[in-house]
């Protein structure tokens, strides 16, 4: 009996010492996972995920509070990349999230009253203007988050879908016939 206890105590003691020594020698710190997740997110800062920006959403994913399918601007590829990073299975978008085509905001200059409410709302400072001066959206910096539309008191901001031009045209996925399809002929009627 005693020998058993002594043996187990000895093993535990030796292992404890080894692990304690290793904990000091191989000490690491930090959790760069949040930054890695944030690097995948599209930085639209739109809040559609339910968090006030992309970094808070990344932090929530890293702590496991929320699923990875909440970001419509990231699309299916975003979910796939997050799934690969975290080593989980990709899940499709829920019924509550809907993906929209990429668009930029445009201010109707005839209606703008220069109130600066939209400038304060823009998370990437893409609107140029000052009090009582004309406001305008820098199209190249606009991420299409739509946060400026609600604050505008005269409803002069609208979203314009980015249309396909020669500069942003992409080759399409090749769709080809697997079998040649015969048009429906009298053979069907004869039956």
């Amino acid at each position: 009996m005693l020998s058993a206890l002594l043996v187990m105590a000895a093993i535990a003691g030796v292992l404890g010492a080894v692990l304690g020594f290793a904990a000091i020698k191989f000490h690491t710190e930090g959790n760069p996972l949040v930054d890695k997740i944030d690097a995948i997110l599209p930085q639209t800062q739109c809040g559609q995920c339910g968090f006030p920006g992309c970094k808070p959403y990344a932090t929530a994913i890293a702590s496991g509070e929320v699923t990875i399918n909440k970001c419509p601007p990231g699309g299916e590829e975003g979910i796939q990349k997050l799934a690969d990073l975290l080593g989980v299975d990709p899940i499709p978008f829920g019924s509550d999230t809907q993906t929209k085509p990429k668009s930029v905001a445009i201010i109707d200059e005839n209606t703008c009253i220069g109130c600066t409410l939209c400038i304060q709302a823009c998370p990437v400072d893409a609107i140029v203007g000052a009090a009582k001066q004309m406001h305008t959206v820098i199209a190249a910096e606009c991420t299409g988050c739509e946060l400026c539309i609600a604050p505008c008191p005269v409803d002069c901001i609208s979203m314009e879908v980015i249309e396909e031009k020669i500069t942003n045209w992409k080759w399409k996925y090749p769709v080809y016939a697997l079998t040649s399809i015969e048009p429906a002929s009298t053979a069907g009627a004869a039956q």
Binding site: A4, V7, I11, L15, V18, L19, A23, F26, P32, G87
Partner: protein, 191 residues
Amino acid sequence: MTEYLLILVSAVFVNNIVMVKILGLCPFMGVSKKLEAAIGMGAATTFVLTLASGSSYLINHYLLGPELSYLTTLSFIVVIAGIVQFTEMVVQKTSPMLYQVLGIYLPLITTNCAVLGIPLLNVQAKHNFMESIFFGMGGALGFTMVLVLFAAMRERMEGADVPVIFKGSAIAMVTAGLMSLSFMGFSGLIK
């Protein structure tokens, strides 16, 4: 010399711990999605198994002896847990990337039935010290080889046109079963 070679060949091919003895399936299915992760896991398991086989033989032979043989399983588990924790710290320090990729499966090596099974098989077969080490190393090499092969096949199947109901784990199980069948063909290799 030849006995050691025979033990090695037997452990790697004829009595492959995953395919023939059906041990250690948890990391086999869980870590085989990416080839780099599989190689890392195999290396970690080899390190753990070799150390575990050696130290468990020493503990069993010198510390426990015939009177305290009922403490075998308990002391083996304690030693394996300690070694795995040590390995985890080493991996986190030397390769944080691999640590991130392996995720939860690194500490799960503790509960890997192959890692407990091989020392127990050593006890059952009454191997001496060198034989235990070779059996442990061989088993781990066999585990690594099968894990890498399976990961390569799964990566290949990522792009394949698998029917929806079979996608993911289902087709992986089918593949594993077929691999197991083919490994059974090694029986009779060593007379």
